[in-house]
């Protein structure tokens, strides 16, 4: 078993998350905070918000990745140690949301992944959590799915909007 596979397997409990807002409208972001505060309280599972991507097991990516934030997003993800796990949150994080084709956005994680690959940054696992805004329950479920603690209920279907 490679070191990477071992590391992936080892991440099971007390994961540390880093919240990366790439030009989101705040709705997903306050739901992330909601998940961390008493009502949902993910800290009881050891999930902790950390201040640097270098300390993070998972990046919570919100927003459509605006042109302005793109270089900073790439830098933050590059700074993360392998294995790189990403939770693409909300309609915007998943596919760019309502501004998927606007002049000042990149348009969701799929496009970002291509840019990351071009820049030599590999992503080891990603889970898409849709919703506008994403619900705190969905965030918690997404994290568990990412860690392999729950089985995926739905089948994966990829849909792309045409470029025309």
């Amino acid at each position: 078993m490679s070191n990477l596979a071992k590391a992936l397997k080892a991440i099971r409990k007390s994961i540390w998350v880093y919240h990366l807002n790439s030009g989101s409208c705040n709705a997903c972001d306050i739901e992330v905070l909601d998940a961390l505060t008493p009502y949902f309280d993910v800290e009881r599972f050891g999930v902790k918000l950390v201040g640097s991507p270098r300390h993070a097991d998972v990046i919570l990516l919100t927003g459509p990745i605006t042109r302005e934030s793109l270089p900073k997003v790439v830098r933050a993800i590059r700074a993360m140690p392998r294995p790189r796990l990403i939770l693409a949150l909300g309609s915007c994080g998943v596919g760019g949301g309502i501004w998927w084709d606007s002049y000042s956005t990149t348009g969701g994680f799929k496009k970002l992944e291509d840019i990351l690959r071009e820049n030599g940054v590999e992503i080891d696992r990603v889970v898409y959590v849709p919703g506008c805004p994403v619900r705190p329950e969905a965030i918690i479920y997404g994290i568990l799915l990412l860690l392999g603690a729950v089985e995926q209920k739905s089948k994966r279907v990829e849909v792309y909007a045409s470029e025309s």
């Binding site: 949301g97 309502i98 506008c132």
Partner: protein, 539 residues
């Protein structure tokens, strides 16, 4: 104010302005572009405050670029809109920033996005990324909304940085933002704000073929996840005013109720964040625990925790039935009880009081010069509340107090918001009690082309202004000015000369909301300070 609205209009005409359109609530005056400054000075001296300015590409209509400067006469409840025209080959207007400092950003904004040059002032790129090609103006009509100029190679900026590399992403922070504080020892000498990470091109999208009048409310709601309903309501108010659509009374009441629910969740969110910044995390957690009740109520009323999506042209989509009334009343009662417990404890914690009082002071005269809005204005002794000044929706039917403090410090801003929570609870109760019958939306409407309107709403953070020019099937031009846009420049006045340790709380005390503001903004300043460090704010 001694002058009446008619006096002001008359004097504008005497100065050389031409009245283009006179409505009950606003007047449009065409002014020569080289004398804008004189008109602005006159209006400011007559007690008006600056709302915003808008650059419009009107070449399809009259072969000119137009700039609209919107002033509010809040004591009269009316607006004055100055309109100056500039031909395409010589696109410039006179800058008014020497008279009205608050116009700084919006002038740079139309310079970046429409390509109209404000003259007689310092200019710099504000809105668009640094690698954006010159001479490409997104809000000109020939620019396609989905055109993406190629992104340059990523610069490795790490080597250049000498500060602590935390911004623009920060743990407790839910938005990218970046302040540069220039310090001498522990004292702040100057402040620079660099935002613009959240510019998503909303105004351009709304006039693109992808959107219609009916769809824009959903786009407007996604300007901001915290006060989104304010934006969709404000857009609709402007549109309904322009098109002369009468909204049923019941729909007005429902909109007002949801607006107040939104204010409750926003203020509770802010209180939590403020407590967190004071190092009082128990207060943070409790504020968010209480806030969860409001989120559940919002979901019950509208079907969604946030981004409610119930606004449509001429009304709302979801009615309020007896079950919802009952649930709302019960939530309000328990919320009031829990909130009073929380604030009682929070305000008696000595550290909270001593950290918040006397820090981040904004004097009344500065507040007025910078045209600040919302709780920031009310904490500095400016009686400015759109719900009272320009009564809209159902607010003329309820009685409530506008909390006013004169200290202008962080504690005053905190107390304004605490008081407003109580007022909001009372407003919701009154609205529910007086909820009239009838339908919740109009069946038919028509939207004529070429109409203009300004609408304003008191958002949790202050005045939100929308300006609209109607077009065919979709807005010809739609401009959004969020409250934070107006309040951020006041941070300079608040922070200068204060100790560094107070900066995070002071920055948070205006309750900045960058997704609203950063549709477009960056704030840059003269460089050449002694040393620079970077800090970020939580929340």
């Amino acid at each position: 104010m001694s002058k009446t609205f008619d006096d002001i209009v008359k004097q504008l005409v005497d100065m050389g302005g031409v009245v283009e359109e006179l409505k009950a609530s606003e007047v449009y005056v065409r002014v020569p572009r080289d004398r804008l400054r004189n008109f602005a000075r006159f209006l400011y001296e007559s007690g008006a405050y600056f709302k915003t300015c808008v650059g419009v590409d009107e070449r399809q209509l009259n072969n000119m670029f137009a700039v609209y400067y919107i002033f509010g006469l809040d004591e009269l409840g009316k607006d004055v809109v100055l309109r100056a025209l500039a031909p395409e080959d010589d696109a410039w207007v006179d800058s008014i920033t020497s008279e009205v400092p608050a116009a700084d950003w919006c002038e740079l904004e139309f310079r970046d996005l429409v390509g109209i040059e404000p003259r007689n002032r310092l200019v710099r790129r504000l809105v668009l990324p640094e690698d954006w090609p010159d001479g490409v103006y997104p809000l000109r009509k020939e620019f396609k909304y989905d055109m993406r100029p190629p992104v340059g190679a990523f610069r490795e900026e790490l080597a250049e940085e000498t500060g602590i590399p935390v911004g623009p992403y920060h743990p407790a922070l839910h938005e990218p933002e970046y302040f540069e504080l220039y310090v001498e020892g522990e004292k702040i000498v100057d402040v620079a704000y660099r935002g613009f990470h959240v510019h998503r091109g909303i105004e351009k999208l709304a006039e693109s073929p992808r959107f219609t009048y009916k769809q824009v409310p959903f786009l407007a709601e996604r300007i901001c996840g915290i006060c989104g309903f304010v934006h969709s309501t404000c857009y609709l108010m402007a549109l309904e005013k322009a098109a002369g659509i009468e909204v049923p009374e019941r729909a007005e009441f429902i909109r007002s109720i949801v607006l107040e629910v939104e204010r409750l969740h926003s203020h509770l969110l802010w209180l939590g964040v403020a407590a967190h910044l004071l190092g009082y995390d128990a207060g943070f957690m409790h504020a968010w625990r209480i806030r969860e009740r409001v989120m559940v109520l919002a979901e019950y009323l509208t079907g969604s925790r946030k981004t409610y999506g119930i606004n449509i042209i001429g009304g709302v989509r979801k009615d309020i039935d007896l079950d919802k009334i009952d649930k709302t009343m019960r939530t309000m009662a328990s919320l009031k009880e829990e909130f009073s417990k929380l604030t009682e404890v929070m305000l008696s914690v000595p550290q909270v009081k001593s950290r918040a009082s006397g820090t981040g002071i904004l004097s009344k005269s500065e507040a007025r010069a910078l045209s600040v809005v919302g709780p920031v204005a009310r904490a500095s002794g400016l009686y400015r509340d759109i719900r009272k000044d320009y009564p809209y929706l159902a607010y003329k039917r309820v009685s409530f107090k506008v909390p006013l403090y004169t200290e202008g410090d962080n504690l005053a801003r905190l107390l304004v918001r605490v008081d407003e929570v109580y007022e909001s609870i009372e407003i919701i109760k009154q609205l529910i009690d007086a909820l009239p019958g009838g339908s919740i939306s109009v069946e038919e409407y028509e939207i004529p082309v070429g109409r203009k309107a300004v609408a304003a709403i008191e958002a949790p953070r202050g005045e939100d202004v929308h300006f609209i020019i109607t077009g065919v099937g979709r807005p010809y031009r739609w401009r959004v000015r969020a409250p934070t846009y107006q309040n951020i420049p006041a941070l300079r006045a608040m922070l200068r000369g204060t100790p560094l340790a107070d900066a995070p709380l002071t920055i948070a005390s205006i309750d900045p909301c960058f997704s609203c503001t950063d549709r477009v903004v960056v704030y840059d300043m003269r460089s050449g300070r002694r040393s620079s460090i970077r800090i970020t704010r939580g929340g």
